[in-house]
């Protein structure tokens, strides 16, 4: 049986321990705010909201120590619907704001909710720097491959040639693959899940919450108004069998009907490719190692999917490795400074070294 617990990294427990626990038992209802949810009927965001609200009691953290920070976009309304602390900020800046909050308050569990435009276009710089710093943030990136709130322009994850209001002859720019981008930006935890798969989404949230440092979770989310069915191939039961590759740490990467397909490494190029599993090559099927120190294979996995058809799309945790957490290091430096120089003495600081005295 594959090892799917992934509770692995030792730091996780200690970091979550800094956040006070809830006193009584919590329910999903405790995390619903009194505000009416105002996404379009049928929007994928509802499912994600329900999954997050449903998962929170499992974490068992005091809800006053949980903060959701968002930018601008449909998904960024998320904090208003969570009965925790929250900030709906400005376009693209949520990772920066959350960095200040998380690095100054280690007793908080800080979540960022963002979209493909918010995180990858206007806020791209903040996203990559949050990832490389490894601040203790959980970033939920709702990717619907379209601008919804501004009524349907193409986004930085839209496929090339996308016909939208701003691109009547088709979009020209190549899209970002958020998972590839995150791995390239030194992310220590990168996962992908789908809005409609509550069980999978919850499991990924669980692992992200456990992770010490920045966790990036890309959530494929349907915009039924401006980009309906963008991920249908991954959701339709029949098609999904061939399209979706479910990654499980420690398990061979197989998919398709009865696991008839698998991922192997091409010995000539080192790249990954999909093959039909046979008795001869079964032992060659790649075993997923999310904890690998090297990001190479995780990156190769992120490149498997066909950006147009979405065939061979891996979901699950691509990468989950432990490395020093920014806020912990920052706090340690403060402690070290006090050890070395004693607690700051303002009078001594102001006096400095060279002084003279004027007597009356």
């Amino acid at each position: 049986m594959a090892d799917t617990t992934l509770a692995g990294p030792t730091g996780s427990e200690t970091l979550l321990k800094l956040v006070p626990k809830a006193e009584g038992k919590q329910s999903m209802k405790d995390f619903k705010s009194d505000q009416e949810v105002r996404w379009c009927p049928g929007c994928g965001d509802y499912a994600v909201l329900a999954a997050v609200q449903g998962f929170m009691p499992e974490l068992g953290l005091a809800k006053e120590n949980i903060v959701f920070v968002s930018g601008i976009g449909c998904s960024s309304r998320f904090p208003y619907y969570m009965n925790t602390y929250g900030m709906h900020s400005i376009h693209g800046r949520a990772p920066a704001i959350a960095t200040g909050l998380a690095s100054s308050r280690r007793d908080l569990s800080v979540w960022v909710v963002t979209g493909d435009g918010d995180a990858l276009s206007i806020g791209g710089n903040h996203l990559i720097h949050a990832l490389r710093r490894n601040v203790n943030l959980k970033i939920l990136l709702f990717n619907n491959r379209i601008y919804g709130l501004t009524k349907g322009q193409y986004s930085p994850t839209s496929e090339v040639g996308k016909i939208t209001k701003s691109t009547p002859m088709g979009s020209l720019d190549a899209p970002f693959n958020p998972v590839s981008l995150a791995i390239g930006a030194e992310a220590s935890f990168v996962a992908r899940t789908v809005d409609s798969d509550r069980k999978h989404l919850t499991e990924v949230l669980r692992q992200a919450a456990d992770h010490p440092g920045t966790a990036l979770v890309e959530i494929y989310q349907n915009c039924n108004i401006f980009n309906d069915g963008a991920f249908e191939v991954l959701k339709d039961k029949q098609q999904a069998e061939e399209a979706v590759i479910r990654l499980e740490h420690g398990a061979p990467i197989r998919f398709g009907t009865d696991g008839s397909k698998g991922v192997v490494r091409d010995p000539a190029t080192g790249d990954l490719k999909v093959v039909a599993v046979t008795a001869e090559n079964e032992s060659q099927i790649l075993v997923h190692d999310a904890h690998s120190a090297s990001p190479t294979t995780a990156f190769a996995l992120s490149r498997l999917a066909d950006p147009d058809t979405l065939h061979h799309t891996p979901i699950g945790v691509f990468r989950s490795t432990e490395r020093p957490v920014y806020d912990t290091l920052m706090a340690d430096q403060l402690d070290t400074a006090i050890e070395q120089h004693g607690k700051g003495d303002l009078a001594a600081l102001l006096a400095g070294g060279d002084t003279w005295t004027v007597v009356g």
């Binding site: 006070p20 705010s33 505000q35 005091a62 809800k63 006053e64 120590n65 949980i66 903060v67 920070v69 904090p79 208003y80 969570m82 009965n83 925790t84 602390y85 929250g86 900030m87 709906h88 900020s89 400005i90 800046r93 920066a96 704001i97 959350a98 960095t99 200040g100 909050l101 998380a102 690095s103 100054s104 308050r105 007793d107 908080l108 710089n125 903040h126 720097h129 920052m330 430096q333 403060l334 070290t336 400074a337 006090i338 120089h341 004693g342 607690k343 700051g344 303002l346 009078a347 600081l349 102001l350 006096a351 400095g352 060279d354 002084t355 003279w356 005295t357 004027v358 007597v359 009356g360």
Partner: protein, 644 residues
């Protein structure tokens, strides 16, 4: 020193008063001066800023009043020997209270032809000019357009020129050290410092101690620099070219009793932030991105982690203020430091802070603009950006320090407003204050203002049905501040955002009447900030002219006003610390005078605000050349206003 004390000596800011002391047999002449202005000028790589800093420290510890003006190019190492590469440091020191780095140097130290050419125009005839003759090669002179040697062609005849082969003498003094000629020559700035230290009877222990500490890991270099420094001193004492040395007595009478140190504006501002954090009992959080001339605050604060100070060097200006705002939400005393171009990038986040009504300090060390402008030069042209540079009606209080040492108090005042009124606050310093220095009377820590705040801890509103709830936008009726409810407080979970919010509940609201109310309420909160009345210095009480200033023009304006008064003119002076809101009595003060002149290092930004708000025909006097005003130029302008 910015003491308001008036004494006859300080009136005479224009003339150097000298008195000769009879030398004993075999001794050199010693003359007493009441004040001296020295300018060290050399190539960017010659260490002129360090030399100036050291001379300043010696002067401060001797007890003179002083004021400094570092002036350097934006390039770290501009092409050697060129005019754009010249770096200088001017120091004015006196036995009495002075206000500016001085208009014109009494002594120019020119380390090369470029330094001479770039600076000689500022030096009055009769002044002393010390030149490093070693650098006056044909090629070096040609590089800056000297066809003939200024040392020989008579063009310096009006000056007391001291030709000194500084490089050769330094190399000679260091011959016992195992250094190449080039390396040994690098210590020529210390030789020059030693010579000037002898000329002005400066204490030397501090510099020797400084060199030992600075080069603690390279004892040979420390020893070589000390040797060069001493050689410079001995050269002054023995060579006949320098027949006279000068004494400038300590400025004991100009200073109230207390313990003093020398301090630059950026250092004072950094200390002010740390002090504010202690007085507010809130951890300090700085989110910043390096930018000239603000980076020194980031450097300084990052040294003081043992005060619980967190410094975050962000990926850009926006992230710098974003992180600060996040920390403010979490209950830190949050600060972002920058200069004009950075403010432009931070504007949207400042607007968010206005909307969220969270305390946040935005420190803008103004420099020449627009765009990249003049990174190392001073200007006051961000006032309107600070006032209005945001979308929507987004009022932000503005506080401006007037002298380097005043940056300490201004930081505390900005913090007071931010935490009391839950608002972002601009602290507008500038390059001149940031890098300039002056003596500072070290405050007693227990005399600092109490800035403690109360975080919200429970419900604050009762609904019609009797339910007790927390409303994040229910205001304090006195200050109109909303509660500061930080995450981790049970029962006060709430959401805030940049979308317009309903009065009281803070829930999203697009209601027209509510928006109108919220816009007016945010404005009323800032308008209602309690700021002290403007004090007017109108010594005779019969002045027709009021000179109104703000920020770093305080020194030259005050020096100019003193000159006019010394010449028998009546002139009133007032200086604004609070630019938003203005002091309550400002309108009444303005109406008391026939004429109002507003000198600014911009094209009239305060004047625009004053004219618009008070319908007063204030006259602008402007200079935007990257340099502070000179007292003489302002005195002339004020005299013309009085006469005209």
């Amino acid at each position: 020193m910015t003491s308001q004390v008036s004494s006859p000596a300080e009136q005479a800011d224009e003339a150097v008063v000298g008195e000769q002391r009879k030398p004993a047999a075999g001794e050199k002449d010693v003359r007493r001066l009441d004040r001296v202005i020295i300018r060290f000028a050399g190539d960017s790589g010659d260490g002129m800023q360090l030399t100036g800093d050291r001379f300043t420290s010696e002067t401060a510890s001797f007890g003179n009043d002083l004021s400094t003006l570092p002036n350097f190019p934006a390039e770290i190492r501009a092409p050697a020997g060129t005019l754009p590469g010249v770096s200088s440091f001017q120091l004015h020191f006196a036995d009495h209270d002075i206000l500016t780095p001085g208009d014109a140097p009494n002594v120019l130290v020119a380390m090369n032809p470029a330094a001479l050419k770039a600076n000689i125009g500022d030096v009055p005839r009769g002044a002393e000019v010390i030149v490093n003759t070693d650098e006056f090669t044909k090629r070096a002179m040609q590089k800056v357009g000297y066809e003939t040697s200024p040392l020989e062609d008579g063009s310096l005849d009006g000056f007391q020129v001291h030709p000194v082969p500084l490089t050769t003498l330094t190399v000679e003094a260091l011959k016992e050290f195992d250094l190449s000629r080039k390396d040994a020559g690098r210590s020529k700035n210390m030789f020059a410092l030693g010579l000037l230290s002898w000329m002005y009877h400066r204490p030397t222990e501090g510099t020797e101690r400084f060199l030992k500490t600075k080069f603690a890991k390279k004892p040979d270099i420390a020893a070589a620099n000390i040797a060069a420094f001493r050689a410079g001193w001995n050269f002054g004492e023995t060579t006949e070219d320098f027949a006279v040395s000068y004494e400038v007595a300590p400025a004991a009478k100009a200073f109230p009793t207390g313990t003093y140190r020398n301090i630059s504006g950026n250092l004072a501002l950094s200390y002010g932030l740390i002090a504010a954090s202690r007085q507010a009992d809130l951890p300090l959080y700085l989110g910043s991105y390096p930018i000239t001339p603000a980076s020194d605050i980031l450097h300084e604060l990052s040294k003081h982690k043992n005060f619980g100070v967190r410094t975050f060097q962000a990926e850009d200006e926006i992230a710098g203020i974003g992180a600060a705002l996040g920390a403010a939400f979490g209950g830190s005393l949050a600060v972002t430091t920058t200069s004009g171009p950075g403010v432009a990038l931070k504007s949207e986040t400042i607007g968010l802070a206005v909307s969220l009504e969270l305390p946040l300090l935005i420190v803008d060390i103004q420099r020449g603009g627009p765009s990249t402008g003049l990174p190392t030069k001073t200007e006051q042209a961000d006032l309107l950006q600070a006032m209005y540079g945001r979308n929507g009606e987004a009022p932000v209080p503005v506080v401006a320090p007037r002298t380097p040492a005043d940056c300490f108090d201004a930081a505390l005042e900005a913090a007071r407003i931010a935490v009391t009124y839950r608002t972002p606050v601009f602290l507008l310093s500038d390059g001149y204050l940031a890098n300039g220095s002056e003596p500072w009377r070290i405050p007693e820590v227990d005399q600092l203002p109490d800035l403690r705040v109360q975080f919200a801890s429970g419900t604050n509103h009762t609904l019609d049905d009797g339910t007790e709830v927390f409303w994040p936008f229910k205001r304090d009726p006195g200050t109109l501040a909303r509660p500061w409810a930080i995450p981790g407080t049970p029962g006060l979970e709430h959401r805030i955002g940049g979308i317009e919010k309903q009065d009281g509940t803070g829930n999203i609201s697009y209601d027209p009447a509510n928006h109108d109310f919220m816009v007016r309420t945010r404005q009323a909160k800032v308008d209602g900030i309690d700021v002290p009345d403007l004090e007017v210095d109108d010594a005779d009480g019969d002045a027709g002219l009021l000179v109104l200033g703000w920020g770093s023009t305080y020194g030259p304006i005050t020096a100019a006003v003193r000159r006019l008064r010394a010449a028998g003119q009546s002139v009133a002076q007032a200086h604004l610390r609070h630019l938003n809101p203005f002091p309550r009595n400002l309108g009444e003060v303005l109406k008391r005078y026939d004429k109002v002149v507003i000198p600014e290092m911009n094209l009239g930004q305060l004047a625009t605000l004053i004219r618009a708000k008070y319908l007063v025909d204030a006259v602008s006097y402007n200079q935007v050349n990257g340099m502070p005003f000179k007292a003489e130029q302002l005195a002339t302008a004020f005299k013309e206003a009085i006469d005209g």
